[in-house]
């Protein structure tokens, strides 16, 4: 996420959709689910459901944060506290990130082959592409 830059072209980026991690959320509403934005009492902001946050945990120093799941919270501070209670009850983490699910942009599974095609035919990027005689040490 924030730890590496995005070198993809603007065109490619524009093709990416919201959000897999975004709770790895499906675009398709269940038939019975209320439509997006529908709340118990429309108009009354106070009745809104808590938004969904994705949770990333660094299990120990030296390791990356890893996505562990999602939860609902009224705001980011509450999401952090809930994430602590839900995902680190047994010392599973030393650091937590939370991010609103709807703020994540993800590549589309429908296009996964063309999207990753640029790296598919570049075998010369791998060390095993190069033949080195057996007698040469340390390489």
């Amino acid at each position: 996420m924030t730890e590496h830059g995005d070198e993809r072209s603007r065109e490619e980026r524009s093709r990416r959709e919201r959000s897999e991690l975004a709770s790895e959320r499906s675009e398709r509403p269940v038939a019975s689910a209320p439509p997006a934005g529908a709340h118990e009492s429309t108009g009354a902001a106070i009745k809104q459901n808590w938004p969904l946050f994705e949770v990333f945990v660094r299990s120990k120093r030296g390791l990356n944060h890893v996505h562990v799941g999602s939860l609902h919270a009224a705001d980011a501070d509450m999401a952090l506290h809930h994430a602590r209670d839900l995902y680190t009850r047994r010392n599973e983490g030393v650091s937590i990130w939370v991010v609103r699910s709807d703020a994540i942009t993800a590549s589309s599974p429908d296009e996964k082959d063309p999207f990753f095609a640029p790296s598919g035919d570049k075998v010369y990027r791998h060390p095993t592409f190069y033949e080195i005689p057996d007698g040469v040490p340390h390489i």
Binding site: E24, P34, L86, R89, R90
Partner: protein, 316 residues
Amino acid sequence: MSQALEQHFDDTIAHDQRIEPRDWMPDAYRATMIRQIAQHAHSEIIGMQPEGNWLTRAPSLRRKAILLAKVQDEAGHGLYLYSATETLGADRTDLTNRLIEGRQKYSSIFNYPTLTFADVGVIGWLVDGAAICNQVPLCRSSYGPYARAMIRICKEESFHQRQGYELLLTMMRGTPAQRDMVQDATDRWWWPSLMMFGPPDTDSPNTAQSMAWRIKRHTNDELRQRFVDMTVPQAQALGVTLPDPQLRWNAERGHHDFGQPDWAEFKRVIGGEGPCNTQRIAQRRRAHDEGAWVREAAVAYATKQAARDLDNGAAT
């Protein structure tokens, strides 16, 4: 187009790879997963009640702290699983409503009462033991988020089962009255625990499809057999008798033979006529209704803070 998608889905399953949330999947697969995971989540949430019943009456601070941690875990398991259903497009509020309106089910086991503190131990030993039997194969379920939630859950269930068994060992070293309590609780929970694996294979119409989709890895009867085989030596070590006159080792099969639970009772309890169905749902509904002001207040606070942040941003 849709044929190609279906082919891709079938190939993924055939290669024992995971289906991930935004992959194309057949509608029936999606509906089955939502139903199964939601029922599992509801079971964890309702499952807090039978043991929660003893929180204020635990016999020592140690037992109380353990029980509190366990009930808290059940809440956590429910939330991991609701989170998995949301990756399929389900809505949390909708699922909660389905539970408290009786439109979605949960495990029949939680409709039995916890009459003594020995029940807390037996639930850990037998009910969580049966849950582990059911759940370990689900760690390889074809739906990725479900499988990942199950891995997390299984790690924690082991604590649940061991604390229960240790509790029972302690009681068995106590007075004759305490030993009787353990036997009585075992007698009451044994058959409902066997029912947790679901109806016999001959009466389980969905099993074949779930196996084909690799949602399930073993049939109900296979898992029930495994549970009985695991539990018999544990009962011996504990010094209790399992209440089944037909239970005996079958050297030819290499498994224990055992009697069948009362499947008519199973259907009645699933159908809402168990000893505690009404009470469990009423309690869940009450908790949801009485918590409404907390949810609303939190939204009001978040909205106010966000507006202030906007104002401050504009001012600077």
